[in-house]
Subunit: 317 residues, 2 copies
């Protein structure tokens, strides 16, 4: 199987929403009047972002999901994506399920594969995804204001817990592991929630490196601080009593790979936030408040400060 | 140096032409009314696309140049790009010149770095570049018509010749090697020519896998054939008498890594083609003609068919 056969067989499909797709020097995207284009790029490397024995179908899903999660955090509607792929060999037994997983998620979001590149090399998946937002309507990291409520969607910590179980450093009953593993291997990008939060949230970010680290980006860029009631945050993780409280909090606050949204909204939008959550079919939990004083203050169930440091995931630290 | 320090130090710069740049979940691009967005993505892998000891400054240049070459082939004006980078380690001695080489070419084309990703892994550079084209005005591979002239820009074969010299399977006098090596390591994307050919060329492609292979894409997608006078094509390569004619023709027809444009235009546009070449400061040579009969016919200096097969570069063949 040559390079162009590979592209034709697994990745070339007619585009309907976009102007030109796979098979020219460039793909061509058109935007509706008044819309702007949100662009995000994520690179997944074997051994860093996924285990070597991961199901290729799930990997195809995840590679796109992490990009759609960035679009969601900006309130962008998915439009198209490119795929650049380095493969050790052209292996149909891998490419077939990988492309199915990738394109199933793409179809579910009306997000078309419009171009890319394939080459031989150590397995590397680089997706750049495009979404449309009304001009001036993108959800930014910099919009949080003192007094805003702080929310997170879904549950935090499950993916990191699953990773530790798969690595043998934690244990879970089988059914719970399956649930947590699905969170790790097939995260659900909160696209519908991001769209529903347009005009409601003041700032948003997707949680990929852990709540503490990613919330830190929002606080720095918004020039504010926050108080987080960790008892509320910790309550999000569906974990049995097997985990001690401290470790559970580690997972929730700095586990990473959550692909949930953290966002802020003014108090007067509380009903609108809940309506957005219902419309999107995604639970959201209010976990704290934005404050004028810089820094992140973590409080325990008794309102006492937690002084343990939590670090964000960093590929080079 | 952590991941975010690395991004801040080497890759984060204020954007002026685009709406949101590095530092949010997505970058944000706006298009002028009546314009569409051309998108291309290229992934460069160590040992496949560049030698491990290549100068990082030149590598930064080349990583963007190969993408700008795709924009050029579509007649698109460079606007922005994203960079996803897998690095074995955060090495300032590599990152500093790499980012300088990358951003120098970007600045020369007014093409802003708006986002991307960094991770640890085997060295891999994935750039996705964006350019604007007037709606309906993109140069496609599918527009060649029987009777059109066939042109190439610049010279072909130099990059592959340099690679063979560096690998020890060919030799060149030092000054010529330097010239050829610059073609290999710092190709000049023909952006100005692509822009000047809007409304003049009927089809265009950038030559990255060799003239025969890339021209083949144009012929298949345009459902036509072509006759190429190889004596004209061979005359393009600035190589001394040291190379025998057959090998010289190999380099010219299937060397690869040329990043020149092959394009077609109707006979009545001959003067317009030459005017575009002058305006862009890039030589173009008419090397043959598009014909209704499918297939590519290579003719020697006496007009006799050359029957040797030439293959296009294929990462998986």
């Amino acid at each position: 199987m040559g390079e162009f056969d590979l592209i034709d067989r697994y990745f070339k499909r007619p585009v309907t929403r976009n102007v030109v797709g796979v098979g020219d020097d460039c793909a061509l995207l058109a935007l509706a009047p008044g819309m702007q284009l949100a662009v995000t790029s994520d690179m997944l490397v074997e051994g860093r972002h996924f285990l070597p024995d991961v199901d290729p179908f799930k990997l195809g899903h995840k590679a796109l999901a992490v990009n759609l999660s960035d679009l969601a955090a900006c309130g962008a509607k998915p439009l198209a994506f490119t795929l650049a792929l380095a493969l050790p060999q052209a292996d149909a037994a891998w490419l077939e399920p990988f492309s199915r997983g990738l394109l199933a998620l793409a179809d579910a979001h009306g997000c078309e594969l419009v171009g890319g590149d394939t080459t031989r090399g150590p397995l590397n998946i680089c997706i750049t995804a495009f979404g449309e937002v009304p001009a001036g309507g993108m959800l930014l990291r910099s919009g949080a204001r003192a007094g805003d409520d702080l929310y997170v969607s879904g549950t935090l910590g499950d993916a990191r817990l699953a990773l530790d179980v798969l690595r043998g450093s934690a244990s879970l009953p089988f059914e719970l592991l399956e649930t947590a593993r699905a969170r790790l291997e097939q995260p659900t990008p909160r696209v519908a929630l991001g769209l529903a939060l347009r005009g409601v949230a003041t700032a948003a970010i997707d949680i990929s490196d852990g709540l503490v680290g990613d919330l830190g980006h929002v606080l720095r860029q918004s020039k504010v601080g926050a108080r987080v009631e960790t008892a509320l945050a910790a309550g999000l993780m569906a974990v049995p009593g097997a985990l001690d409280e401290e470790r559970q909090l580690d997972y929730v606050l700095s586990g990473g790979d959550d692909y949930e949204l953290a966002f802020t909204a003014p108090l007067f939008q509380r009903e609108a936030v809940q309506a957005a959550a219902r419309a999107a079919g995604t639970a959201v939990t209010r976990i704290g408040q934005i404050e004028a004083q810089a820094g992140l203050r973590l409080l325990d169930g008794n309102g006492q400060p937690i002084e343990r440091p939590y670090r964000s995931f960093d590929h080079f630290a």
